[in-house]
Symmetry: C3
């Protein structure tokens, strides 16, 4: 059953620990978004401790935004430890398709780790399923075909839940496809909002590990509703950004479901 | 003598350089808090330069929030250089108790460096004095005993000033215990506010190196007053966070002492 | 021809990719400023990919604020790849003069890379041309002589465009000197505003590579105008900081030239 409100209530009650190995640009932002939604973030990337930390967590978020070899090794170790315990893992393949190193690293993680949800833009996910995709830096420029089909194809081929964000988000386990219409254009004016959606996916997954397709869609919908609230009264990307955490913290489990726009295609 | 206002005035007049080797999540935040209180932050972690930089500074802040081996080596080098010159050092043992690596690294730094103030939550400080403590990620979940006793015990055993933050903060040199009641619940809704309190401790210590117990308590009280001001009118953690720097910059040395609530137990 | 408005329009129309190898403290801030002005930021520092990423970009920004050996190697690789393709490079020698490592690294980059614009404060730039300069941490404390002369001297000796920021900014190619009077004192109350001016220099240079002297001055003027707008109504450094991105995004190409104050000396 899809109910972002129910899962949000569960997050607030259980305060799951969400281990994040993410990029330098957005660490503060994803930690604050995690706190605002009601979960507990922990950032740790040393090979000496990532396995221990991953085992303590309710979900693991891996984001390759500013990858380098030591960090990739840590991601593989943490991912392996999480997989072995059945702890859900979210992967954000930032910039896959832009450089060979990012594409290869994403594939390497997908090979070794039991990734539960792959959260990326159309160019990144398209690259990983072999579609014709154009990625410029960390932006998706174009990808062949419909995003719903891309999500389904990625879910099916990679055997995970593919969460493809864009003007409309598409989440698929390879069979079902959920479209999420919530959101606001200002999200693309602030760096790291994609990474925040990945972190929030980790939070929802931690509270609803039994239903990753639904959890992934609920996370995007909840974030989209918060963005809609934050944009109301914002004077630009800077005040929008500050208000985004206010809006996440103010999300009301009792009314959230009336506002989320998740449709099964 | 305890007077946060006097020490704040001194910071604003002398603009001490505060060298910070801290974590990726909060670097921007602690630098901005340092500037807002009136001191000059400098972030440098390369082994090639940390000793030289530490010697130029009026205090050194070591924070292990996102530790790894290269960084720990740099912390030890910088700490050693500061100790040799009598430059005060603040240590924030982020997550001690959560993983063995964090506990061992904190102990290693305490062994090698002449730490002036240890600033942590009850779980972290409790771990380092062998109390039964539960730490989840970087959050303190529970610790045996009273926080005032924990601070005194830590101060006595580790021969430093222990600054244990929580709903009420307790600062002790092993004999005297100062309780600081200023603060606001929104502080726990923003990541890195513990790290900011550590950085501000470094600023106050730089301006009042002769009285670390008082300086540590004054720093927490000043930060608490700023948090009270920032919360007034904030719509949530995001706007509170932005307003926190406004409030730190607006702290008035002339009226601060009327507002700080520091009590000797 | 000097026209910040024309260059800004060009940035918004072409959305150039600006590759940034910068410091941990300001990555989020420079990425958001880059987005707000209308360009696309990408942060990548692994030796495995920096050359490939630099070749995809319209300009490269190198900032040594939290340098270490792996990062310096990546800066040299990326800078070399950019130079070989004629892609403009901006160097921010953060803290040159404060430690030997920072001075030497800045010189090493200047030797190996075809730096188009050197953007620093008077102490940093003065250090690199052998002037008597005092740098404290990352702050310029004093430097012998007039800033206009320093900029001209640096431009001439280092054979690049020197962009020396301060209360008034001076930009010179070694012959002509442009003074930029826009700006606001609150800029110095927020960490990383120097780094943001460097990133924006990269954006303007990407859109006007044929005229680096003008592009560098226009970037500083546009940022100064945004700071003036952001300060209007800000309650301190925290709200000013958030409003700065609003103001950058709201800059109007049609009216910008009326507000910029760039004078040829």
């Amino acid at each position: 059953m899809i109910s972002a409100g129910t899962t949000l209530r569960r997050i607030r009650e259980t305060k799951p620990l969400v281990h994040q190995i993410t990029n330098y640009v957005v660490m503060n932002e994803t930690a604050n978004a995690t706190l605002a939604i009601g979960a507990l973030p922990v950032m740790a990337h040393a090979q000496e401790e990532v396995e221990e930390m991953a085992r303590l967590a309710s979900s693991l978020v891996i984001n390759i935004g500013t990858l380098s070899e030591h960090w990739v090794e840590a991601m593989l170790l943490a991912g392996g430890a999480a997989s072995a315990r059945g702890i859900p893992v979210v992967l954000d393949p930032v910039g896959a398709g832009a450089t060979a190193y990012r594409t290869q690293t994403s594939r390497r993680i997908l090979d070794v780790v039991d990734v539960t949800v792959l959260r990326g833009n159309a160019g990144e996910v398209g690259t990983l399923v072999g579609a014709e995709a154009e990625v410029r830096g960390v932006e998706s420029m174009s990808v062949a075909g419909e995003p719903a089909d891309l999500a389904r194809e990625a879910g099916r081929r990679l055997r995970l839940v593919a969460s493809v964000t864009g003007p409309v988000d598409h989440v698929s386990d390879g069979e079902r496809v959920l479209a999420v219409v919530n959101g606001h254009p200002l999200l693309s004016a602030v760096t790291g909002t994609g990474c925040i959606s990945t972190a929030l996916t980790g939070c929802f997954l931690a509270a609803k590990p039994e239903a990753p397709l639904e959890a992934a869609a609920e996370a995007l919908a909840a974030f989209g509703v918060a963005a809609e609230d934050a944009a109301d009264g914002a004077a630009g990307p800077g005040t929008f950004h500050a208000r985004l955490y206010d809006a996440l913290a103010a999300l009301d489990p009792d009314t959230l479901d009336e506002r989320t726009r998740i449709e099964e295609l």
